[in-house]
Symmetry: C2
Subunit: 335 residues, 2 copies
DNA sequence: TTGTATGCGTTATCAC
DNA sequence: GTGATAACGCATACAA
């Protein structure tokens, strides 16, 4: 069988406890001892048994990504970043899909009954789901949020999405667009508010009157983008540009335009948000805002792990955006 | 703290061991006892502690998805299916990304040193990676494969991809295409061979001479599809249709065609393979072959779990395909 | 600063 | 068919 902590202790000529101290970076151990133990660990290729560790230490050395109906791309990116952070820290990652209905309480309870992760990373819209948050807080489980609506007293990571949209809209306006449509995201997401807010503020700054007819609801899905575009393009005075609140919806706009015989960007400019792979894979390639999603997953996990180790630690971080001008935007056609 | 097996034993008036037997479906326990234990379990809402189980039972009750540079969509689907199967069986899922270089041996060793999953699911191209397979076999770890090149003596799930391509190509040929190009996948994937083979067989059946100039290499990536299309469309006698070995490459073909001012499907028919979301999100929507990827992940996991429980169990399953005719294919333009 | 003894919750061994 | 008891490998009061 594999080496145990006892074997390491024997090889180093110290007690189990000393080995344990060294392995867990505890204080009160002389440098010399530490050295000796580390050598023995190396030599025996010792790896602690996670089950024994968990059992004795009342910790699972794992964190859960708890999610609920997000886009696959987004999820994949977050997951990738979390995996990286977990791997580097010797933690394990659980995936916990929750349903959208009332049963999510039972599901998250089951998660904790079965595996008891030491902490949780939440992504929208669960970052602002009262039921889930109450459960976590009441149970005293550390959690980090990615792009939560309400960031006060939270740890995790977010982006100044409003400013990002302001930058993007400025480009559109500079090109000469004045009738700009917007397809919103679902209201449960903070992102929907921030992006909508950026849209409105940009118009205001440019002295363009806000026209409610140019704003339609969406669901962050391709289909809802297509529908939204159809609604906007059927207007008596259709917009010359459409800012969809995410890339999937923007792809839907591109399709709707194509089906109507409109050429993008000649007849219509389109932009999205997120810089998901689809933004480069459709034609024309989407002008969009890059969000370092994977990095955000990594950072949120790191903050979570910090808090798990000490209740004082953990911050709410901010990451930078970048406006990516590609092929889907151009000056409006002269009338 | 939570209830222990001891509490259940006390509540049921039996010994710990009997409870354990009931919980693990072991034989040698009277129906009446079983009933009594189950009632106590219900009443106390008892859930076994996974760490203690693993420690004492020398099992981790977890399986790993071991992968290496596949498409994000594919990975996500497989993962989703595996998650479902794991959840239903009380197993846990580990994600184990491996690098492409020589270090993957060390990485998979680390996986086992650290977590020791009870079994592994492999996806292409790792399904046929000698280094990985040798490690697994030598160590005696049960594993299931999805779409392996060499299915003999393996368990897992696959699809008759050659027949699927035959069906797809028949549609193209029926439309009147006779110069059909093909962008291959990387040779490490069985899928590349099968799809290429289906392409050739379809031509042969239709009495169309195979022209090597119409076949170009690809890497299953969007960019490689775009490059392949550019190569094919630059030919003196360019094809009237292109069959790309997967959807991502087909999307690249669509883009290449658009940049060259070609209208799809009027000037060029395009089809892909996999039915990933992008096939519906680009314009025109791709004619492709649906592969029940998520279901395949689920099935492979189930077979793996069967084998984990008994070395005799576990089969190599086959799933059905479906040809999805969408907007990217039509009759060739008359010359 | 270092070591000893006990417990974590389950499975496995071996009697009965 | 059932039950007492010893592992499993590590952490942690507590003692030295």
């Amino acid at each position: 069988m594999r080496n145990r902590i006892e074997d390491v202790a024997a090889a180093a000529g110290v007690s189990m406890k000393t080995v344990s101290r060294v392995l867990n970076n505890e204080p009160n151990v002389r440098a010399e001892m530490r050295e000796r133990v580390m050598r023995a660990v190396e030599k025996l290729q010792y790896k602690p048994n996670p089950s024994a560790r968990s059992l004795a230490g009342h910790r699972s050395y794992s964190v859960a990504l708890v999610y609920n109906n997000p886009s696959r791309n987004y999820l994949m990116e977050i997951q990738g970043g979390m995996l990286e952070a977990c791997h580097d820290s010797g933690y394990n990652l659980f995936l916990s899909p929750l349903s959208t209905g009332k049963e999510k309480v039972a599901e998250i309870q089951t998660l904790f009954r079965n595996f008891g992760p030491d902490g949780v990373v939440l992504i929208p819209p669960l970052t602002d789901d009262k039921v889930v948050l109450d459960f976590l807080e009441q149970r005293g489980v550390p959690f980090a949020c990615i792009a939560p609506k309400h960031a006060a007293d939270r740890i995790g990571v977010g982006m100044d999405e409003t400013t990002a949209v302001l930058d993007l809209m400025a480009q559109l306006i500079k090109l000469g667009h004045r009738r700009i449509g917007h397809i919103k995201g679902p209201s449960a997401h903070g992102a929907s508010q921030w992006r909508y807010s950026g849209y409105k503020q940009a118009l205001q700054r440019a002295g363009i009157e806000y026209d409610p007819a140019l704003v339609v609801p969406g669901a962050f899905s391709f289909d809802s983008g297509e529908q939204g575009a159809n609604a906007l393009l059927a207007l008596k005075h259709p917009p010359t540009a459409i800012f969809a609140a995410n890339d999937d919806m923007a792809a839907g706009v591109i399709r709707a335009a194509a089906l109507r015989g409109l050429s993008v960007p000649r007849d219509l400019s389109v932009c999205g948000f997120d810089d998901t792979p689809i933004s480069r894979h459709i034609h024309p390639a989407l002008t969009t805002i890059r969000q370092p999603t994977s990095e955000m997953g990594r950072m949120a996990t790191l903050e979570l792990l910090a808090r798990i180790k000490s209740p004082e630690a953990g911050r709410m971080l901010r990451v930078d955006h970048a406006v990516l001008i590609r092929e889907s935007t151009a000056a409006p056609r002269r009338r």
